[in-house]
Symmetry: C2
Subunit: 209 residues, 2 copies
C-alpha cells in the first residue's frame, strides 16, 4: 500500500501522515527505494489509535509516549499501567501540597511507594485548583468520589485480559486514556438524571403535543 492509499483508507491526509511519521507516531513503511515505501494493515490500525487519542484531547507528545508504552511494554502489568499514566501526566512544575492528596490516596488503599509520585501529584494539582477557586467539596460527596472510583478501578483491573500479553497492553494503556472522556460524559448524564429526580423538572415528563 502506498502512502496515498493509506491516506484514502484511513481518512487522514497525506500531509498529516507525513507529519506523524516525522513525529515518530507512525513507523516508517517498508522501503522499496530511496523515495518509495509501502505500508500495511498495522499502519492503518496505528493511525486509528493515533486519531482516537488525539481526538480525545491527548497531545502529540503524550500520544508518542502512550504509543511507546504500547510498543515496548514493561514486563509487569503494574509497571505497564504506571507507564500509561505517566505518559499523559505533565511534569510537575510548581511545588504542591501532597499531604491532602496522600490522605485521599490512603482512603483508596494506597500505601507509600505504591505508585509514581506523578500520579499523586495529579491529585494534589486537581485539589489545588478546586480549592483556589474557593470551592468546598462536602465530605459526603468526597466519600462518594472515593467509593465510586475504587469500584470502577477494581472492575477495570479485574478485567485485564490475561490470555495474550498484547491484549493486556492494549487494554491497560488505551483503557486508562481513552475512557476518560467517556467517564466525564457519563457523569454529566448521571448528574442531569439525578437533578431531574431531585428537582422534578417538568420538562422531564413526556410532553404531549
Amino acid at each position: 500500500m502506498r502512502i496515498s492509499e493509506l491516506s484514502a483508507e484511513s481518512g487522514v491526509p497525506v500531509a498529516t501522515i507525513k507529519y506523524y511519521l516525522r513525529e515518530d507516531l507512525l513507523p516508517e513503511g517498508a522501503r522499496t527505494s530511496a523515495t518509495q515505501a509501502t505500508y500495511g494493515e498495522p499502519h492503518i490500525e496505528r493511525l486509528r489509535v493515533i486519531r482516537a487519542l488525539i481526538e480525545a484531547g491527548v497531545s502529540v507528545a503524550e500520544t508518542r509516549r502512550v504509543l511507546a508504552a504500547l510498543d515496548d511494554p514493561p514486563t509487569s502489568p503494574h509497571d505497564l499501567l504506571g507507564a500509561a499514566h505517566a505518559a499523559v501526566l505533565p511534569a510537575t512544575g510548581e511545588a504542591l501540597d501532597t499531604a491532602a492528596a496522600e490522605a485521599l490516596a490512603v482512603r483508596l488503599g494506597w500505601q507509600p511507594g505504591m505508585c509514581d509520585d506523578q500520579i499523586l501529584a495529579g491529585v494534589a494539582r486537581a485539589l489545588q485548583g478546586v480549592q483556589r477557586a474557593g470551592f468546598e467539596i462536602p465530605d459526603a460527596v468526597m466519600s462518594a468520589y472515593l467509593e465510586s472510583v475504587r469500584t470502577l478501578a477494581r472492575a477495570e483491573i479485574a478485567n485485564v485480559p490475561t490470555d495474550s500479553p498484547e491484549a493486556a497492553v492494549r487494554y491497560v494503556v488505551l483503557g486508562s486514556v481513552l475512557i476518560e472522556p467517556l467517564l466525564l460524559a457519563l457523569r454529566r448524564v448521571a448528574e442531569q438524571v439525578a437533578s431531574a429526580e431531585r428537582f422534578g423538572d417538568p420538562a422531564a415528563a413526556d410532553p404531549e403535543p
Copy 2:
C-alpha cells in the same frame, strides 16, 4: 485597588488582567476618570475562579460561558446544571451514532427529553473515539462505570446547598467543571492500587534499607 495592586494580590500579570477584561471574563473596575479605575475583592475572587478554570483545561471561550452561568443563573437548579454543562461542551460538528449513547443513558435512568442533546452527544462522541481505536469495553466494566457514575452524581446532587441561591449556583456550576480533573486523578490512583492488589507488585511492599 488599582490594577497593579490587583495584579500583585492575585499573582496574575497586568497584561493578562487587561486581556481578561477585553475578553469579558472580568468586569470593569469602578471608573474614577477616563484612564483610571479601581477594583475590589470581587475582582480578586473572580480572578481566582478564572485561573482555576483555565488551569483545569477550560478554554477562555468556555470559561466565559461558565462565568455567564454563574452571573446570570437560570431560575431552576435543573436548568442551571444544563447551562453549566452546555458551557463546556463543544458544538457537535459531525453526525454521531446516538443510539448506543442513549442505551447507556437509559441505564442511568435517563428518559427522552430529560436533558440537552449536547450532553448525550458527548457520550456518543466519547464512545465513537473508544470504538474507532478498536477498543472493547467489557460488559462488567461498563456496568461498573454506570453504577459508579450514578452513585457519584446522586451524592453530588443530594448535596446541592439549598440555603442560599448563590451557594447553589457556585456549587453546581463550579462543581461540574472543576471536579473533572480530580476525578480523573483519583481514578488513576485507584487503578494503581487495584493493580498492586491484583498483580502484587513487590515495590508496593515497604522497602527496608
